[in-house]
Symmetry: C2
Subunit: 258 residues, 2 copies
Amino acid sequence: MEIFTSISSWQNWRNVIPSTQNVGLVPTMGALHAGHQSLITRCRQDNDICTISLFVNPTQFNDENDLANYPNTFEADRKLCEAEGVDAIFFPDYSELYPDDYRYRVSENEVSPLLCGTHRPGHFDGVLSVVMKLLNLVRPQRAYFGEKDWQQLQLVKGMVEAFFMPLIIVGCPTVRDIDRLAISSRNLHLSKRHREKAARFPKILAAQAPAEEVARLLEADGFEVDYVQDFKGRRCAAIHCGGVRLIDNMPLYEGNQK
Amino acid sequence: MEIFTSISSWQNWRNVIPSTQNVGLVPTMGALHAGHQSLITRCRQDNDICTISLFVNPTQFNDENDLANYPNTFEADRKLCEAEGVDAIFFPDYSELYPDDYRYRVSENEVSPLLCGTHRPGHFDGVLSVVMKLLNLVRPQRAYFGEKDWQQLQLVKGMVEAFFMPLIIVGCPTVRDIDRLAISSRNLHLSKRHREKAARFPKILAAQAPAEEVARLLEADGFEVDYVQDFKGRRCAAIHCGGVRLIDNMPLYEGNQK
């Protein structure tokens, strides 16, 4: 497995991959877990070469504390990638990936301000801008994103269409813990008590009730609710539990039937 | 010479060009003149295949009248391209190029608000966004832009670097009429009297004097001045002459020596 930290070494490697070989990319912010693992598995199935990027992207954090507290687990990430058969890790730092110091950005003005965008101003500009950079550097045939970040997945798909980028964005199902909590690197920040309590989030979100009612149920359970909203066939929600922000979403029929 | 109006027919053609062949692109808004001609000549010299796009991009017009009055000369453009040995014209309409209806855009926040950006809010967002689309659709090894639009040229170069787009932006010298007026499709809108008067614009701009003094000289000559400003080694200016907006720029040493 190769590890590249500089753009130039990455490009030297990328440029000699024959065009007959399909390349897949799993873009991540590190702190890899079972969710990422499922993306890597799918990426390996679909492509000749499986690459992963590890980059905690500062431009998508609207809260400096949130950025400072983001888990940094490179050694564990490297081992997981090795074990999962990743071919190359791209692990650049900010100055490599942002030679422009974020003077240039990609934005979207309809979906971006909704849901998580309301609570995290500028978040999706940062996401779209870094994804554009990574996709141009890796030039994959396919890139893999989790459905857990449903709004992000829709925005990235839209960007690829709007700018005619020659690849397929593959959305992969949310991986859940045994108690149904969606797996997230942020779960590491939950105390034992709050981790137990967090399991009620997906259960309440699956309630057969209007979104407003689900928001009331979550609040009644002691969660601070950012939003519960139906969006593109999904019921999406963001809450705070013991100071940790958690997001989740479910297909609408599931929300209505279960 | 091929002419494509749909993205899909364009892509079918583009996708079968072997990777051993270099492709050049001259992005234009049509109304082709000697300036474009020089870009085509250079593009043919440098590349195996010379392509040109003709698209009057509405998102870069902040003034609806300006857009409505933009010259539309497709038949003449087609003939010029044929005579100059262009291999393919890409001539899409808005709905083809903007499936997103401009929900997604590329912007830059430091250079964009200056000079022309001050007087044409949103102009460079439109330019960068459409250039990103065209470059991704054409995937050229080189793209050609005139130095006449100096600020645009710097911004496009910056975008290509910031997003690691795999091509070279080639800036080509401004082509001037016999009386030194920079050739522009907007010159067609000048009355005979104002066309004569416009020739004083490059002459005054070349004066050996500070930018503020040059602005005063232009105003004393009866031009309405948007700005005269030194930027990245050039003296740049925009004026109005008989209701027509004209821009020009010159290397600073020339402005200081001549």
